[in-house]
């Protein structure tokens, strides 16, 4: 490295759009573990072109993040690049093989942030909480471009303006915790763009964000890419996002590339079964499930099993749930959709009385026809109510006690309520496991021996063990990969028909709601802004917020890119 890279002028001799900037050939990254190695990346090759977006898509554990980290040589220990080339083509016509560079050396440090920048998934933990946003960006500018303090500050304010942070001259002195998730991600992007990198690697940058914020961030990345002509490597598990932004797509599975093609081919003429499965599982969420389309509509006059009136849950001044009224009938699925902070989870927890609501009525109709207010239920009534209204949790890892066997977990509600014990309990647990599609022979295993999808089935079995009337499912499929999501959704619908269950299905995912639910309520800032038939709410919403929410969901078809023309909602109260 004899030529001083830091002094290169940015504007001089800008190479043509579409020329190759990064070539990865047969990249292999291993993680040595006791008794073997995990081949996280196993012979991956691709090229990245200036001004184009390459999407790397795959489910958890496919090696997509490790691929990205290998490029910048920031693979977590003990992982290391075993073989392969990572060629970075410089604007001056020279190329450097990043795979050969010392990960702690000066050469790679000059490339990181200057020529190749990266945005991470979690905007809270990837920015320092003890420095102001401005200081963090100024540091990049001073390190890589050798700018003076004043000049760097001017440029930082300019960058913040480019990423559309309001009042950039004030925001520059703010700390990250004073920003919302979307704003933090914008600041992160400003930092990544500070030195006009040739390549921007975005590792699931929108996964932790709400759909409306996601749409804005995707928009921003696209626009900045057009302005600056940089190449983007975008890592995601969401086929909708891929369809929206990709030029080229790389599908990864178990560390290997299963398919590599332009976005049109991937979505309309995919060759590999795995790619087709990924796309199908997203496309199926575009419509209501066939099982539900075929079913007779639930009679209008069937009395609701749960009728919530004016439910409120205030934490001090914060009105998490503010006067929500809804009802659900036996056999019906009521979807509750909303973004983070909308109060949907709090409402679900109020219904099962994990929280004590501060106001309102939750009328529950027992199978014998008598009605009881769950908010006031105490003692034996509360105990009986907890057998009838059950919950399925979001986190398939945290919701199962790791110190108990599957049989103990599923049998716990039966045991503590004195319904079954001994041999009878054992038989009942086996029957429940079969019902949710688990092998009864596995009942002596501990939760750690199961995959995410199987764990969620265990959670379902526990919920139906007491033959409940109502199940509140809080983001029951959010933590699962798309291929598993369907299996759990289909299982829930089958059980609903078998047991005549009423579901209150809480999710942030419009697709899941559309697939599964009969009616949908949309929550925003603790209030229910729209309620209606699922088809109608998802396809022809009336409230402005719902319109914004639905139009922000990326469609899994590159021919129908719609984010640019999406509806924007401005809260009249804010």
């Amino acid at each position: 490295m004899s030529n001083p890279m830091a002094a290169e002028p940015i504007a001089a001799g800008q190479p043509a759009e579409g020329s190759t900037v990064l070539t990865v050939r047969d990249l292999v990254t291993h993680f040595p573990v006791r008794g073997g190695v995990v081949k996280a990346v196993d012979g991956v090759s691709f090229t990245v072109h200036r001004g184009k977006t390459l999407c790397i898509v795959g489910e958890s554990g496919s090696g997509k993040s490790v691929t990205a980290r290998s490029i910048l040589k920031i693979v977590d220990a003990p992982g290391r690049i075993v073989s392969g080339e990572i060629l970075l083509d410089r604007p001056n016509g020279k190329a450097v093989d990043l795979a050969q560079l010392n990960p702690y050396g000066r050469d790679i440090r000059r490339i990181r942030g200057k020529e190749i920048a990266m945005i991470f998934q979690e905007p809270m933990s990837s920015l320092s909480p003890v420095h102001t946003v401005g200081d963090q960006i100024i540091e990049v500018l001073r390190l890589h471009l050798g700018m003076g303090k004043k000049q760097a500050r001017e440029r930082t304010i300019d960058l913040l303006r480019q990423v559309e942070i309001p009042n950039p001259h004030i925001a520059v002195d703010r700390y990250t915790f004073e920003f919302s998730g979307g704003m933090r991600q914008r600041a992160m992007i400003a930092m990544a763009l500070a030195c006009n990198p040739d390549v921007l690697i975005a590792d699931e940058p929108t996964t932790a964000l709400d759909v409306t914020t996601q749409a804005e961030i995707l928009d921003l990345i696209k626009r900045l890419q057009e302005q600056k002509g940089m190449a983007v490597i975008f890592i995601t598990h969401d086929m909708g996002v891929v369809a929206e932004i990709a030029d080229e797509v790389l599908v990864m599975y178990h560390g290997k590339v299963v398919e590599r093609a332009d976005v049109e081919t991937i979505f309309h003429a995919a060759k590999h079964d795995y790619t087709r499965m990924l796309i199908d599982s997203v496309k199926r969420l575009e419509h209501k499930s066939e099982v539900r389309l075929k079913r007779e509509p639930i009679p209008e006059n069937r009395p609701p099993v749960i009728a919530v009136e004016n439910l409120s849950m205030h934490f001090g001044d914060l009105k998490a749930v503010d006067g929500v009224s809804l009802s659900v009938r036996p056999g019906e699925t009521l979807g509750i959709v909303g973004e983070s902070g909308s109060g949907k989870t709090t409402m679900g927890r109020c219904i099962v009385r994990l929280y004590e609501p501060t106001g309102g009525i939750i009328n529950y109709r027992r199978p014998d026809g008598s009605v009881i207010d769950l908010v006031q239920a105490k003692g034996d009534d509360l105990k009986a109510m907890r057998q009838q209204v059950r919950m399925i949790f979001q986190d398939p890892f945290g919701s199962l006690n790791p110190r108990m066997t599957v049989a103990q977990i599923i049998g716990e509600p039966l045991l503590v309520n004195g319904i079954a014990r001994g041999r009878e309990l054992d038989d009942e647990v086996s029957r429940l496991m079969q019902q949710v599609g688990l092998e009864p022979a596995w009942r002596e295993r501990y939760p750690h021996a199961f995959s995410g999808g199987q764990r969620q089935r265990i959670g379902v079995a526990r919920a139906i063990a007491l033959k409940p009337q109502v199940i509140v499912a809080d983001e029951a499929t959010s933590a699962l990969d798309v291929s598993l999501r369907f299996q759990v959704l289909d299982l829930l619908m089958r059980l609903q028909d078998e047991l005549n269950l009423a579901f209150i299905f809480i999710s942030h995912d419009i697709g899941v709601i559309r697939y599964m639910c009969d009616r949908v309520g949309v929550m925003y800032h603790g209030r229910l802004v729209e309620m209606g038939d699922a088809e109608q709410v998802c396809n022809a919403p009336t409230h402005d917020y719902t319109k914004a929410l639905i139009s922000a969901v990326p469609r899994p078809d590159p021919r129908q890119r719609s984010l640019a023309s999406r509806h924007r909602y401005i809260d009249p109260n804010s």
Partner: protein, 376 residues
């Protein structure tokens, strides 16, 4: 890369076994991979076996004084004669002589009368586990009139090895009893603080902060000095452990409270509540097993602190008093410069303290790392 850490034990053990492995088994598998911790475990077990039956491992009566052997140097176990021939393990006795010029006391080896060492031989009488009297020892001198001093003798001609072994009983058990006391106070107060929260939590936390702010050594000194000198040894011993645990419980209470708070928000605890479990069942069936391993690790790390505290107190002369034998009491013999010059083997109890504390710390570190096999 959570997948790789979870997969790690899977490679080492058949998946079938892993699937049905309980928490204790997972902890043990994770612990076994920790070489230093395993060494710590082995040493700790040996030390506690010694502390249980010190008489068996001692050679000479630790109380017995011998006017003919003050500052007797250590004698090695030899398996060769001076002529280089193999011989049953024996030792060469040393005789107290006067240097004809300086008149200083010197020890001269007497290779003519090499004395064999007997395994499971007879020596002084002691009570095994406080139950029955015996005189069998692991090793003994073949000739009861010629005592064997493996680690030498002190000012009064008492066998340092035997006193060291006898001291292990008190020193190692002070840690256990003291920690047991702190544990009871710590779990009760920490548990109440963590589970109920609010005002109760506030009061208990301020008390803990107060206790932690007390300078421990002056407090121990003051309390220990207040003990009546005339009390019997067992009373003194009990009071010392109480004094040590009075300040030791605060750390444990914090650990317990922290675990309680972390677990309270876990979804499986919410699930247990919705399953209809009583409060008692939630705490004892669902929450306690989840942090039992953490508590065991904290205890293991608290024991060495107790051992050091006892040693420090006794060394300063305010803990246990002779004739009670503990490592701290023994180290008092090594307080002056003369003993360093003439009898460096009097420091042996210091080495024993280092060994015990190191072993327990390594064990505790290993346990802490292995304690939670699920969240890494």
């Amino acid at each position: 890369m959570t997948d790789t850490t979870i997969a790690a034990p899977a490679v080492a053990t058949p998946a079938q076994r892993l699937a049905v492995a309980s928490q204790a088994q997972l902890v043990w598998w994770a612990f076994r991979r920790h070489k230093l911790a395993m060494a710590g475990l082995v040493i700790t077990v040996i030390l506690y076996v010694i502390a249980l039956v010190p008489g068996f491992f001692a050679i000479n009566d630790p109380e017995a004084q011998n006017a003919r052997t003050p500052y007797h140097p250590p004698e090695a176990i030899s398996i060769r004669t001076p002529e280089g021939q193999w011989q049953w393990p024996h030792f060469v006795p040393e005789r107290l002589k006067r240097d004809p010029d300086t008149l200083a006391a010197i020890y001269v080896p007497d290779p003519e009368h090499a004395i064999p060492i007997v395994l499971f031989g007879h020596g002084y009488e002691y009570k095994l586990l406080g139950l029955f009297t015996t005189d069998i020892h692991l090793i003994a001198s073949a000739n009861p009139r010629e005592p064997f001093y493996l680690f030498g003798a002190d000012r009064l001609g008492r066998c340092v090895w035997s006193r060291l072994i006898q001291g292990a009983q008190i020193s190692m058990s002070v840690g256990l009893v003291g920690v047991a006391l702190s544990l009871i106070i710590g779990i009760v107060l920490g548990g109440i603080s963590g589970y109920y929260g609010g005002r109760t939590d506030f009061v208990i936390q301020r008390v803990i902060e107060f206790v932690l702010a007390l300078p421990s050594i002056p407090i121990w000194l003051a309390l220990a000095a207040a003990l009546p000198q005339g009390w019997p040894a067992t009373y003194q011993y009990m009071m010392i452990t109480v004094i040590l645990s009075l300040t030791g419980w605060a750390q444990l209470a914090r650990v317990v409270r922290g675990r309680f708070l972390a677990l309270k928000t876990d979804e499986f605890v919410a699930a247990a509540k919705l399953d209809g479990c009583s409060e008692k069942r939630i705490i004892f069936r669902h929450m306690l097993p989840s942090f039992a391993s953490h508590i065991i690790a904290s205890i293991t790390l608290a024991i060495p602190a107790m051992i050091l505290a006892e040693t420090a107190l006794s060394f300063l002369g305010l803990g246990l008093q002779p004739p009670t034998i503990s490592w701290g009491v023994l180290l008092r013999e090594a307080q002056n410069i003369r003993s360093i010059a003439t009898a460096p083997w009097l420091f042996a109890p210091g080495i024993a303290v280092v060994l015990a504390v190191m072993a327990l710390n390594l064990l505790g570190d290993g346990l802490r790392d292995a304690a939670d096999p699920y969240n890494k």
